[in-house]
Subunit: 140 residues, 2 copies
Amino acid sequence: MENKKEQKSYKTRQRTQILDCLIDNKSKHLTADEISVILKKQGNEVGKTTVYRSLEKLMEEGSVRKYICEEGKSACFQYVDDSENCHRHFHLKCIKCGKLIHLECDYLSDLEQHIFEHHKFTVDNTKTVLYGVCGECSNG
Amino acid sequence: MENKKEQKSYKTRQRTQILDCLIDNKSKHLTADEISVILKKQGNEVGKTTVYRSLEKLMEEGSVRKYICEEGKSACFQYVDDSENCHRHFHLKCIKCGKLIHLECDYLSDLEQHIFEHHKFTVDNTKTVLYGVCGECSNG
DNA sequence: TTGCGTGCAAAGGTTTTGCATGGCA
DNA sequence: TGCCATGCAAAACCTTTGCACGCAA
């Protein structure tokens, strides 16, 4: 069974640096590869395998969230910052410049409520990203 | 403007069957592999390469749309049924049973309008899927 | 006949797994 | 010392590309 017993977890250089990297970039969605590259540039090389495995652990612990991004080629990860209430708002992602926008807005909460009441569907904005074009890119 | 020089396009057994398959399943999101399997079961085997290439053509023609789905492993495709106005509504997808729900609702159009006016962002619901749990699965 | 379509094989890119070694507690 | 963590190599997947042959028009 999915016994969510907390598993032991050691504090290692690699895992710490991966988490730090995600925190430093908490406004962005990073791919496993991007994390790997950033760490390398900082002189903190970490094997790709370890990046993937650490991200998985961090997701289980709830510190990190996985998103499926527009490109579809690779998954994106983002630090879960409780102070930003990311579980309560929607994310918009520009398909032109890739910018990620955190949308804090009561209107959106109402939307969720509406969908739940009228369509019997519980939206999980942890997994949901609205795609489109941001103001800057549409002016271009 | 969508002025893509129209390329010549031959009507072949494979392309016809792929499109038929998408039409038969127009309420679902199918992966390239699923299409391949369905056709095989019908005795209409089509090479994977051909499935991918045909889907690309069909997308250019505007008959088919590509979505990035939750699993993230593979892309999903769906027939564009103009009579259903899929470009005007949102799609909900249940992360438990995989069911796809077409949400026809004025409230949602307002949402788009709201995001555009207040957040300068043009949502493309061609690419957007709201993830969550449907009524049946949450009762389970 | 022309040139797009098809499909096998192979390449490319991302993610996972096997296994021996390393390192936290 | 007991385990989890790490990382190389290889496997597993999904998708794309090269190439020779097939087939619609």
